[in-house]
Chain length 117, copies 2
DNA sequence: ATATTATGCAAGTATTTGCTTGCAAATATA
DNA sequence: TATATTTGCAAGCAAATACTTGCATAATAT
């Protein structure tokens, strides 16, 4: 059970995204995280391991507990990848918007200037 | 070969991300896409099917060819998910930056006012 | 010291992935 | 019409995933 291990792969799983959501604000220990999910503690533990292996999670030992802390900066890779396309599609939407507005203006002129039919 | 089919899952695969990159600017037909990759046409075809099933891709039949067009807006789901954490980590970085600057100012005062060392 | 708590590690399994090869169907071209 | 081109569909397979249960270990609490 080990192979490609990157951020994109890591966040593909809904449980792992939920885990990130849980620990984004402040570190939480393993059992507390596990209790929130239907699946077994072992399953959650594996998810934590995966998150940790790809750098999205930092585990700090504190006595017999382990605090899991999110390293959100690691999401930057995803952020940048999506952002390039976000710019593209936003740009297209804006172009479309302007086109529609232009049409509206022209339509008004058609009405007021020429008073057709 | 069918189960969870969402955008996060779709972009988890590097080949599929590359395909999106290829067709982001303009539609491309299946074979042209397949030629760009080491894997077989069938493998690429399957990736296209997955991208299409989760709405990231639109296929337009044109004679015997099929043009694959990216529907980048579908990435919005990912964009929004990442963006919430992006704000969080950027906020923290800024807070840290301000803290450091504050320290620098105080250090200067220490130097000029008290001449300690 | 003993029981309890918080976790990890290992073995085993069902499902999903990612690929490949071979064959069929539809459209275009000579 | 015969042939080439562009794809899809299906069967088969190895590797990866996501889980589970059971057992081991280390730190606390009693």
């Amino acid at each position: 059970m080990e192979a490609r291990r990157d951020v994109f792969q890591a966040i593909a799983d809904p449980t792992r995204r939920a885990i990130i959501g849980m620990i984004a604000k402040e570190p939480v220990n393993v059992n507390t995280i596990a209790e929130q999910f239907e699946v077994s503690r072992q399953a959650v533990s594996l998810h934590l391991k995966i998150l940790s292996e790809c750098g999205l999670l930092n585990i700090k030992q504190s006595g017999r507990e382990r605090l899991c802390e999110a390293k959100l900066e690691k999401l930057n890779e995803v952020h940048e990848w999506v952002e390039q396309y976000h710019k593209l599609w936003k740009g297209r939407l804006n172009a479309l918007k302007q086109f529609v507005e232009q049409e509206e203006i022209q339509a008004k002129h058609m009405n007021s200037d020429k008073k057709e039919y």
